[in-house]
């Protein structure tokens, strides 16, 4: 019986010693909870590092009237073709923003526990609010009214089901965030980080957008509230202009001065840059900019036409400009044209004479996007392996904000033009814009595009809009601009490509020898029958019968796209200036209402 007792004793001891209370208390030692984090300024810095992914540098104007042939999918493209509804719209246009807003609010909720220099703490709070303002304004642009949340929600929170806050309230909060950011974010020595001036630029950008939106969108009945926004746009941009930024002119060559902003790997020291996205082979951070050339889109004839002649006169004033041959389009034009749209004779490997010039294709209309294309093979590795730096904010935009806001306010002077848009013109050796001349000789082509621009500054406003479209082409501003100017009808116009005088062979490389031919169908070889055999053999042949494009006058004329014929465009105003909330969200929160006919 002794064994008996001992065994029982051992059993009992083991049982109870095993039942130590903390045996079942475990926590992840490699992943902290917020109690272990959010103590110091350094923690805030670490956390805010993650915010930078919320803002990317755009490198195309998909989708807008800057786009010609387009084979991708975009909500606005589908909208003007009349097929978007709350049922089929992508859920991400709504749901994509909230995780980031929660991420920011999670830090905002924990600021009180941070110890350290108050100025430093406010600096990082400013960065958080900078990004929150940016995200919320994107939501406002999409949906007009949205619910405002500045704290992390619980699963039980009733606020989850609240109605949207009015635009005026939400924009007011955005302004508070941005003013805080401007007041507290410190200047930065690194353009890779958000700085005071980046905050000012965002403030100016949003103020210009909101001010002009309220001014032109009478359906909101907020016209009277537009002025303070425009005024703040002026003052914020002015503050940036007085800081140590300068339009980049170091390269000497006018075209090169402009080009390097979009296809080089050393923007960190570029005087024009306020905020950049740095890419690096060594660090494995890259972009996909090689796709701009001839992948899913090309640029629109309407953008091509807007570039001025190099003497400052409108291209559209040239006699019979419509019928200009492809190879002549780039002659005597604003040098920025050949940096934005691929000119004849361009080669992807400039140092390799064996590589023939890139032949444009009529499928997309012929105006291939060159801006942002990494020019040298060493920066161009392929899909998601291009290493060019990209601007997120640069001084040129600030200058254009200044000019436009003042023009809209009626306070624009020639000095203002000289300090802003004329600096951009000067960089590329373009003549200055004169306030009086512009207002005296309103460009008819522009006036037709923006019929709602009126008043004494009509001429200069139109020229500023041209300047903005040209300077900032392919940088992702165009659709926003059209929408805030209430010029949605521009999106309803069919896109077009270059002018074809007749079916047959065309020189697109500029060497005088025909490279491509447009024929009605494979059998209709008559137009090229007379060419020397070696030229004929080398032709790239395109057939109208392939049903990708056609010519405006059947056998001649602008290249037009079958897509626009099959799915004609229409712009429903004001509905299409806003987007539908995905149906699931209005089912889950019945207080959420669609606006303007959605």
């Amino acid at each position: 019986m002794k064994i008996f007792k001992y065994t029982i004793a051992i059993l009992a001891v083991t049982l109870f010693s095993g039942c130590k209370k903390d045996f079942l208390s475990r926590f992840p030692k490699a992943d902290p909870t917020d109690e272990f984090f959010f103590h110091t300024v350094e923690d805030l810095k670490t956390y805010t590092n993650g915010f930078y992914l919320m803002m990317n540098a755009p490198y195309s104007d998909v989708f807008s009237d800057n786009i010609g042939g387009f084979t991708g999918s975009h909500v606005m493209d589908n909208m003007v073709r009349g097929t978007v509804s709350s049922q089929n719209v992508s859920g991400s246009i709504w749901s994509g923003y909230w995780p980031n807003i929660r991420k920011i609010n999670f830090m905002m909720d924990r600021l009180e526990g941070i110890e350290g220099d108050p100025g430093e703490i406010k600096h990082y709070e400013g960065i958080a609010r900078f990004f929150r303002a940016y995200l919320y304004y994107e939501l406002v642009k999409n949906f007009h009214n949205v619910p405002w949340y500045d704290t992390v929600l619980e699963a039980e929170s009733e606020e989850l089901y609240k109605p949207a806050d009015p635009r005026t309230v939400v924009v007011g909060r955005i302004m508070e965030d941005l003013e805080f950011a401007v007041a507290n974010i410190k200047p930065s020595s690194s353009k890779e980080l958000v700085s005071k001036h980046a905050a000012l630029t965002l403030l100016a950008r949003i103020c210009l957008h909101e001010g002009t939106f309220r001014k032109y969108h009478e359906e909101l009945e907020l016209q009277s509230t537009a002025i303070p926004f425009l005024e703040r746009a002026v003052s914020a941009s002015a503050e940036v202009m007085t800081a140590s930024y300068a339009i980049h002119t170091d390269q000497g060559d006018p075209a090169l001065n402009y080009r390097v902003l979009f296809c080089s790997n050393n923007l960190s020291g570029n005087s024009e840059m306020i905020f950049i996205q740095k890419n690096s082979r060594e660090l494995g951070v890259a972009n996909n900019t090689h796709t701009v050339l001839d992948w899913q889109w090309a640029l629109n004839g309407s953008l091509m036409d807007e570039y001025l002649m190099d003497d400052g006169t409108p291209f559209t004033d040239q006699s019979n400009y419509i019928q200009t041959a492809y190879t002549d389009l780039f002659e005597n034009r604003d040098p920025r044209l050949s940096e934005t749209i691929m000119p004849p004779g361009f080669t992807v490997e400039p140092d390799n004479p064996a590589v023939a010039p890139y032949r444009t294709r009529p499928n997309f209309g012929g105006y291939l996007q060159l801006k942002f294309y990494p020019r040298t093979p060493d920066l161009r590795g392929g899909w998601e392996i291009n290493y060019t730096d990209l601007p997120i904010m640069r001084l040129a935009e600030v200058l254009l904000i200044q000019a436009e806001a003042k023009a809209e306010l009626g306070t624009l002077t020639q000095t203002d033009l000289d300090n802003t848009i004329n600096k951009l013109r000067a960089r590329v050796n373009m003549p200055d814009l004169s306030l009086t001349t512009a207002n005296a000789n309103v460009d008819a082509a522009l006036a037709a595009k923006y019929p709602n621009v009126t008043g004494a500054n009509k001429g200069v406003i139109l020229e500023i809009r041209r300047g903005r479209r040209v300077e900032l082409a392919c940088e992702g501003f165009r659709l926003d601009d059209i929408i805030r100017w209430k010029a949605g009808e521009l999106l309803a116009e069919p896109a077009y490509g270059f002018y074809v005088t007749q079916l047959g062979a065309i020189d697109v490389s500029g060497d005088g020898v025909e490279d491509i031919a447009i024929l009605e169908n494979p059998q209709a070889t008559g137009p090229i029958a007379g060419l020397p055999p070696q030229v004929r053999e080398g032709l790239s042949l395109y057939y109208i019968s392939d049903r990708s494009f056609y010519l405006s006058n059947t056998n001649s004329g602008y290249i037009l796209f079958d897509k626009d014929r099959q799915s004609p465009r229409e712009f429903v105003s004001p509905k299409y200036y806003y987007k539908p909330i995905p149906v699931e969200e209005t089912v889950l929160n019945t207080n959420l209402k669609q606006v303007f006919g959605w």
């Binding site: 064994i3 059993l11 083991t14 049982l15 095993g18 039942c19 045996f23 079942l24 475990r26 926590f27 992840p28 909870t33 670490t46 993650g50 084979t71 909500v75 589908n78 073709r81 097929t83 509804s85 049922q87 089929n88 859920g91 749901s95 909230w98 980031n100 949340y149 929600l153 619980e154 699963a155 989850l160 089901y161 890779e192 980080l193 996205q277 740095k278 060594e282 660090l283 951070v285 992807v348 490997e349 390799n352 590589v355 023939a356 890139y358 499928n363 590795g381 392929g382 790239s540 042949l541 395109y542 019968s545 392939d546 990708s548 079958d562 799915s567 149906v583 089912v587 889950l588 959420l592």
Partner: protein, 1155 residues
Amino acid sequence: MKLFSLILRQERENGHDRPPVSKILRIMKLTILMLFSFTVGAFASGSAQTVTLSMKNTRLENVLEEISKQTKLHFFYDQQLLADLKPVSLAISNGKVDQVLNRAFKGQNLTFQILDGTIVISEKKRTDTEVTGTVRDSLGILAGVTVSVEGVGDISTKTDENGRYSLRVPDNAVLVFRFMGYTTQYVSVDNQKIIDVRMEVEASALDEIIVVGFGTQKKINLTGAIDQISAAEIENRPVTNLGAALQGLIPNLNITNPSGNPSQGANFNIRGITSINGGDPLILVDNIPYTADEVARLNPNDFETVTVLKDASSAAIYGARAAFGVVLITTKSAKSEKAQIAISTNTQFRSVGKLPEVVRDPLTVMEYKHNAALPLYNLFPENVREYARRMQDDPSLPNVIVDPNNPNSYLYYGSTDWMQEAYNKMAPTYNLQTTVGKASDGLSYLFSGEYYRQDGMLKYGNDKLDRYNVRGKVDVRLNRWLTLGTNTLITSRKYDAPVFMDDLFFWEVNRKSTLDVIRNPDGSWTQSGGSLLGRMQEGGRRNQGINEFQTTLSLKADLIKDMWDLNADATFRRSNAVVDSYDVPVYYTTGPNTAPQVTGSAIPWAAKENGNVRYDVVNIYSNFRKNFDDHHLSALLGYNQEYRKEESIFSRQNGLYSPSLPNPGLAHGEKLIQTGYDDWALQGVFYRLNYDYQDKYLVEFNGRYDGSSRFPEGDRWGFFPSISAGWVVSEENFFAGAKSVVNFFKLRGSYGSLGNQMVYDPAGNLLSYPYIPFMSPYNVPRVLNGQRPVSLNPPAAVAKSLTWEDVTTINGGIDLYLFSNRLGMTYDMYSRRTEGMLEMGTKLPSVFGTGSPIFNSADLKTNGWELRLNWKDQFDLGGSPFNYNLTFTLANSRTYITKYHNPAGLLANYYEGQRYGEIWGLQFDGFFQNEEELAAIDQSAAGTDDQGYKFYVGDIRFKDQNGDGKVDFGSRTLNDHGDMVKLGNSTLQYPYSFDVSGSWKGVDLHMFFQGIGKRDWYPPAAYIYFWGVYAQPWTNVTKQNLDHWSPDNPNGYFPRTKAYTAEDDMQELGIPNDRYMQNAAYLRMKNITVGYTLPSRWLRNSGLSSVRFYFSGENLFERSKIKVALDPESISHDWPPGAIYPFQRTYSFGVNVKF
């Protein structure tokens, strides 16, 4: 008896006339002499005489007569023996008698013995000892028992009505006694003449020992739903992975194979849908929990039994984690006092199974892609197709030319079969296993070892798996009451594969265009060739090594002999995993003069990951059993605790100094270090109480009180009791009349609850800290101030209180044996309710900003049944017993959501009353045949964004169920679902299997079929194997794509070719509809094996006790109605769709040797 009659007959016919008494004496004398001669093998002196013969074509009788005359020797033989013999010719002078006879008998089936002046002639085979005896069982004599000689086909008899037999047997014979329902007995004859045998009733019928939690029970006494198979049922197959081998063997043990990758284990499920967030059965090997992947690393030859505990009561003893059933695996132990050595080897050749067929004619491919891409793209415009047309007339034209539209670019007109290029036709597997064991009173041991090597199917840069297993089990009896044991295992596995393989390789294989070729005319890789095969061959590799050491120390004390014991065991597992990987750029060119471009990693990097697992398990339990007359009582009380901790560190550095030394320490670029930590603990006290009366009325109580570290303090502990009962009806007196037909009949029932503590995130990852809102660090993919800094993600939303899922099962079962136990049947019905499922409780508006927290929020119910039928018999075939065995299993289950917080009734979510697996979609209503039909309905809500939500003539038309002129989804809720209807169910229904085996004369044959009776499968959007160019115009034209709508073929299978229509979920063809719903039922020939066991007499004196050769084929063919050539198992795995390591067919040859 025969021998006597023979002699008598011979004498009578020869006319010898002797007195009866002397005759009998003489016969006795002869018999004794003969027996003696068998033993000593000596000839008598008569052989010394000589004879002289010269005879041609003479009957043998005459030869014998002549010899008899010359020597005075007598002959004794059966006239019949010599009746049909051919005449012989002999010419011998002065030959010795035995020599003469040897020559005379040459080529005849005769032998002779010279015994004391008499020569006895007999048939060679019947070397002749007669054995007689009586066969009984515990009750009395047994008639009809087959008695045969092992390894000799045609010597057999049956016992008569008195249970008696007699048989003439050769030297060293082993008698085999076989009778249905009884264990086959083997008895060496040696010198015995009378062998009486007592047959034991076969255990499988009534007394089979079933492994249960922390012990064993007789099958007769079971009350829960338990099924068991033994190693015998799989050991004759070339099993390389136990999980895969178990598929189909046990009804409702549902095994699915995730892919053909040799490093991936099978998935286990018991009885269907368990919980929305998953829930796997608990797998234990020798009472130690293992994951399915860990089981896959073990030596399948070590396994002795596999037991499946299906209902709450049988699994209750394992409480924590046993909610969804338990798979108990035991490993072999030494059994015999004689040292046993076994070696088996096996060589397999595997070929890739079904692969989808694609169209490869360049012109056809270009035309399909061109048409599909319109109006979006002008793919392969006419001037490009033109050359393909010329190639059809002149196949000698090169398949790579300079692009007429871009002189810097090549244009390809290939017909590459990328599947064939990526995979080998055949790949070998080698396997060697040895076992050495011996059991004795004081000490028993068993050592086993395994080496396994598998070459993968990749043609370029092949993957290789090496596995080593060594196990040692030693039990030492210290004294009368104390036994110590160890069970130690060392496992080592290495898997070396291209680093690209884990990436999107399998997806890419199918995406590569048939038009592309592998290499350019200048020898460089093409983009397709380089990004697929180039990366495999020249890119980096990943070498995963896992070394695992586990030892169990156990102690068993018999406190009171046969009444009370105490067991304690402690297991320590230490695993170490090292993953070395690196990648380097691979270059390709796209045109004749262009600079090379990079695929794979632009900058060479190397990484090392080191993971360590510490896993400790302690079990202490005590058994008590006592019989009071007819009352049998047993009880078990125990304690269990487990702790597992995993720590890892991952380091990676860019910019290798030399790609040939891919070590993260030898690089100069960006550094990355990540650490991982994960641990959990479990504790529990458990009990079991069994009582039965006369083995007739059975009752069992189980319970467990469990604590889990996965839950917050206060919610941590749960108590899970269960009860079960059984009634052996066939033991009742009133049943006696039926017992001759129904040998055994038992009714069982059980009810109980179990806890589930497995919490998964929506991505399917098991969470160790589901209530702790922790933040996870990551390396920001953005350059900030010159470096890529670290940041942390905010925590997911977690519930403050969450506790065990409560899984309640009610089970009823019948066990039946009929017709002398030849037919066995087991049937179970069950209902399992999973309550408080740890699940995202409700769909929250997306302004919440993260996934809804997981808490005990939802309920479901699974109803099901399972059936196993077995027929076992033998009959005589050509004088030898033919044994055969047929087993059929069938099961089914259906699951319903009984609680889910979805007040809006969103169809994208679960809702109350929903049958799990429901597929909602639109009904097919033909194709738009003309513009009028097109104009009649607005389907834009069902269109695809890539095509601007537009439809054209030839496109699919959906049925407008509510007649409002629009096809839409309403608000996608239960009450407002627009035109959506229920179309089918995606769950596996009616899994079944059929197993046939037989053996005859050492030849054994085994065939095993397995299948799924019913299943609906809608090919997911972007599943390019099925949709081909309807998903993306870049992907291949599949064979089934060729049958599509056109004005000439208005009823083709597919609509008009239209790209991107099957690219996104719930858009156009991505919306489930009845037209493309696939019948995913299948039947698979899982295994066929033919074996041959050498007759034991061949092995005499060889030192071998058994040798078996076999050929085997696994997964040789399958029947499936899916409209694409795909393995029916491969379809169940989702993203990227169909991108898995291909399944393989296996042909193998092996030999098992026992010493």
